[in-house]
Amino acid sequence: MTVSKRLQKNKVNTQGLYQRALKSAFFKLNPQIMLRNPVMFVVWVGTIVTALTVIDPSLFGVVAGDNRRFNFLVTAILFATLLFANFAEAVAEGRGKAQADSLRATKSDTTARKLLEDDTIQEVSSTTLRKGDRIKVVMGDTIPADGEVIGGVASVDESAITGESAPVLKEPGSDVASSVTGGTKIISDELILRVTSDPGQSFLDRMISLVEGAERTKTPNEIALTVLLAVLTLVFIIVVATIPTIANFAGSPVSVTVLISLLVALIPTTIGGLLSAIGIAGMDRVAQFNVVATSGRAVEACGDVSTLILDKTGTITLGNRLAEEFIPVNNHSLLEIAQVALASSIFDTTPEGKSIVRLAEKLGATIDFDPDTTEGVEFSARTRMSGTNLPNGTEIRKGAVDSIKGFVRSRGGQVSPELDAAYERVSLLGGTPLAVCEQGELFGIIYLKDIIKPGIRERFDQLRRMGIKTIMLTGDNRITASVIADEAGVDDFIAEATPEDKIAVIQREQAAGKLVAMTGDGTNDAPALAQANVGVAMNSGTQAAKEAANMVDLDSDPTKLIDLVTIGKQLLITRGALTTFSLSNDIAKYFAIIPAMFSAAGIGGLNIMGLASAQSAVLSALIFNALIIPALIPLALKGVKFRPVTANQLLRDNILIYGLGGVLVPFVAIKAIDVMVSLLGLA
């Protein structure tokens, strides 16, 4: 599904959003809420002080030109500034809540078939299910909770979560297809599931709380910016507090109302008012791309990622490798290798194992032993083999060619060059070769075919243009890895990688000062996902991978990182751009208010905008200061457009637009407002 179609599909109902936001803007005037925003809190205090001067204009002394009407207008404009800032945050929150409501609509309290200890079924409400419970879901059921498939095979419609209506096969024992999400629907057959989350803790619930912003905490970048804004505000307060005595000495006394106006005009109210809206809108954009993020910190980190490490199977490839062909060696027949392959895979519950069994049975292979008296040997990342131990002591194995060679030699067997030729043939096709043997006798190679996900190459090209290096890690041999890496278009690859190798690569890149993102879906990816700065697990992956990662991609698209990097960079760039704009605005405000304040001291010549009077100059600057906040709300919510260009080019462009623009725009705007103020006779 294309991004535009997905965003359109996820379009939420924003009817009544602005009315609710306006109402919420008034509620946010509560001082306990205002305290969280230092810049706007200072404006809040200033508004109360100027309101007092409306009641008693001579409260802080009598100054020529000061009157109740002027004080009232200043108070009204400051109050509007507060409301606009609160409105911006409320609109962002409202959009998030609307998105959360549309997600909540996909949730429903359903009846679940809980499997008791004795395997009898008890019908219970889905809200009573707990982590570890076993449930049975059949065709037509809505899956009542997030779970891991432990039995059965079924097709699941995940469109409620991903928007994609093509059903997905779910079966146990697979890294790719063993987990299900609550709210999705069984289309065929049935599954036995183990519930993996308590009520309120499912992925859908986490996505809802993320977009609602209920548990949102400030990210490191936001905290740093808040400190900067607090420092600037403090400096300006001290400067403004010392002006009255100097003004008195210069024979140009200034009223408290004008001083507060100067203070509010100087402190960065634009970015102060829009900062939280930018952060909330960023999180909502992440959710619109069907990614569940555990924190804003991870999203911000995406913006600075320089290396992406990807697993091969299930991430770059479709992951459901199927047995395509048996290649016998050592003069064995096709039937003989099929027999041994079947025997080695009888206990293998993975899709690969099942496909080997199907192919072997298709070729007429049968087993001549009783599985109940036979021991199955599970696959491990260390041995890279699995198989069967027969009651008579015969060991049958299948696995990585090097591992099987070592096994054969240890059992006194020989390795023929035929095996290497077959292995190379399969590898050059991009397939995974598994060698199969019985004791010290090699029987041949099983060719497992894997398919690269469509469109991957173009997405990796895009990552490269963004300056992100891609590294593919796989347990496969070098030749297969090289063929797949070349076909997919990754920058580098590491073959025959163990789980420790994955962590070592990430640590090596991190030690070189790089931010590393890792995409994976298997349980063996979990430690690496936890180690990486940004860990993105596929929704189709195992629960362990999803728990270890700090993001889950519900579309299971390994190149979703492109969108996450864009959103992360957009967040950082938007904050930087609006901060630059906010601080640049000050220059024009100096030229508006300072000459007006000290006109008697003879610096009226600095009134380069030709503003009508001292009072109109102050009012115009304040009105501009207030109106610029709602004017920039759309930009704050949408984010500054990110283009994949170099950092220097980006900096140059944004300084020109927001820096120079921030200097020039207020001159024009304040003059225009001054003309309007004079025409309306407000000053």
Binding site: L234, A241, T242, T245, F249, V256
Partner: protein, 89 residues
């Protein structure tokens, strides 16, 4: 101490931890602190200059200005808390 207890109970602020943070902050940013203190020197100097202008103020105005001064002081303390412990806000 009582003040520490009151601050901890009412606004959850640990005075000792705050003091340690302030000392660490001052040590790391001594030049910036020096410039800031020079800026603050404006405030007492300003009062001397103001007294020299001979302007007359009523008791009501004096009280109002004093209260405003306290409000400004409160704002400065609040902003210092934001700078030193921004994660609380």
């Amino acid at each position: 101490m009582k003040i520490r207890q009151v601050l901890a109970d009412t606004i959850g602020y640990d005075l000792l931890a705050g003091k340690a943070e302030l000392q660490e902050f001052s040590r790391q940013n001594s030049k910036a602190i020096a410039i800031f203190l020079l800026l603050c020197l404006n405030l007492p100097l300003a009062q001397v200059v103001y007294a020299g202008t001979g302007a007359e103020i009523t008791p009501k105005t004096a009280w109002a200005i004093a209260l405003l001064g306290l409000v400004i002081l409160g704002l400065c303390i609040y902003l210092f808390m934001v700078i030193l412990q921004p994660e609380r806000f």
